[in-house]
Symmetry: C2
Subunit: 326 residues, 2 copies
């Protein structure tokens, strides 16, 4: 096994977020499941955009946010995801590159537009996402860069990729490349509904060779079809080599080798927008993990990064995360 | 004179802001005059964008920000400005309409792109702007909507329009329409360098029929080619029917009918980004003025709106300004 030049290579949907504010009644009126991501077509997207208030455009995408977070801690991160040669593609490309992430995608012309997500933030800070996948639906084997995957200590995949058959195939191929190179594989379960859509396959993949699983409470409960976090966590401890379970304001727990490490949340004055909380927790944890820190210290970095991201609008850090931990 | 259905009709460049952070050395390296607006071509824009950090896209434009601020106070505002049928044009159109401003522009296809401004915010909160005018250079007589201008109590024009000959002609025509309808005309001097470029013409226009002039310290000093605010303010009091002079942290003064009204700033915990401070001061003042409030009360609304806008990134209010004043 050659020396890794990247700490983490992340693969996911390359998305620009369109973030606006609304009340719970607006979500209900437009049938947006609060706190979740739903996939929408161009027509629904357009109708929703026309009826929502003023918004702000900020680069996003779950695994992409994680890659940016790792770079912000000072780690070496790469990202693989597909963009079109349009304004949003240029924005995505600029922002992730400017954040110090190794991103080599060519912008594809003439096909579908760059993916976007209408994110509605309610007064409680909770975000509800409406994603139009656009060109991300075309992410396939051709987009994988084997040399980048081989050179990274950890391959990090977002579960959202499972929503398209082509991406699922690319996902499995990326895992095979990483495994052949002797690397570790991490998977984020992404969303409770996403888990419900792909439960059997997620379980299969975890059994086959995922080393680290990131999930929040809703996702892990959905995976094991239970109603109780403790039961789900016990099952996770049996099935997964390393399970990182986040629980919002209740902190997080890391399960590995029969041990359980509890990590408190980092205090926040005001929760402005929870978009990216899980992505940035994963960034902090993976940065610490790939630096060889212990699980508690890695989890603490996750809490620090999540606290920064929920204190402002958008899922990309506004400060150098490296400056936040002593 | 018929009853006005709009409080204010604003005319200006329709711009989407691309806001990022940098240090003073970055500004120096790229020859960006700190605290000012400079016009750049596509090539300079692109080079600057490539070297700057991650950014956020938010609708802007000086007079457009003022229109949005007036609507946020509960006033009836309209806006005239040109956009292209591209992603930034759609963003601009959506945001100003969603903010409650009457905006009737048709998106023009196949020509120049929608205007954009790269705004670099330094750690002191000061903003430095690099604007590519794009399709705004084509704003001319054809874009004016006489019925909207005739129906507004005040026509508000940004001085930035003077940077293009075609817009200058449209500017003069708009003034003539407003005057024939018995309306008042307000002018923002926009930027110290902009004043230096068009000093004689600004003076001429003010003498001919501008009723309200908005200027900051640098702009009014530049207009009268002095180095001293008091001297410039004295001259303004002689030349202008109503002069509204903002002085950053020193508050503002309103000069009218030989009287001077001083208005303190509204306290702010932390100045995050000064983009839009002048635009939102004008919004508060014009909202109060068109509601028939006295000068001191109108100025106080200006201070309240400016305080809100400098406490976060971007030049559009994040709250209903109507909720901020008792």
């Amino acid at each position: 096994m050659s020396t890794a030049t990247l700490d983490v290579i992340a693969i996911g949907n390359a998305i620009v977020d369109i973030i606006g504010r609304c009340d719970d009644a607006f979500l209900a009126r437009h049938e947006c499941p609060k706190g979740h991501m739903r996939l929408v077509d161009a027509l629904t997207m357009s109708a929703l955009y026309d009826s929502m208030g003023p918004s702000t455009e900020i680069s996003g995408g779950s695994a992409a946010n994680t890659a940016v977070g790792i770079a912000s801690f000072g780690g070496n991160a790469g990202f693989i995801g597909k963009i079109a040669d349009d304004e949003f593609g240029r924005i995505f490309d600029h922002d992730i590159t400017a954040a110090g992430v190794n991103y080599q995608a060519k912008r594809a012309s003439g096909g579908q537009p760059t993916s976007r997500s209408l994110i509605l933030v309610t007064p409680d800070g909770e975000r509800t996402m409406n994603t139009m996948l656009g060109i991300s639906t075309e992410l396939g084997d051709a987009e994988l860069i084997p040399s980048m995957i081989e050179s990274a200590k950890v391959l990090y995949l977002e579960g959202y990729l499972f929503d398209r058959p082509e991406a699922k195939a690319a996902f499995r191929k990326a895992v095979a490349i990483a495994k052949s190179a002797g690397r570790e594989v991490a998977l984020s379960l992404s969303d409770g509904f996403c888990v419900a859509r792909h439960r059997a396959e997620f379980k299969e993949l975890i059994a086959e060779g995922v080393d680290i699983v990131f999930a929040n409470e809703v996702e892990i409960i959905s995976l094991y079809e239970t109603t109780d976090f403790t039961t789900a966590a016990k099952q996770a401890a049996r099935d997964m080599k390393l399970a990182v379970l986040t629980r919002g304001s209740k902190g997080s727990i890391v399960l590995a080798d029969g041990k359980e490490v509890s990590i408190p949340v980092e205090p926040v004055t005001k929760i402005v927008d929870t978009t990216g909380a899980g992505d940035l927790y994963a960034a902090g944890f993976l940065y610490g993990y790939t630096q060889g820190y212990g699980l508690a210290r890695a989890g603490r970095l996750g809490s620090i990064a999540a606290a920064e991201i929920i204190s402002h609008t958008g899922a990309r850090p506004l400060v150098n995360l490296a400056d936040l931990h002593g």
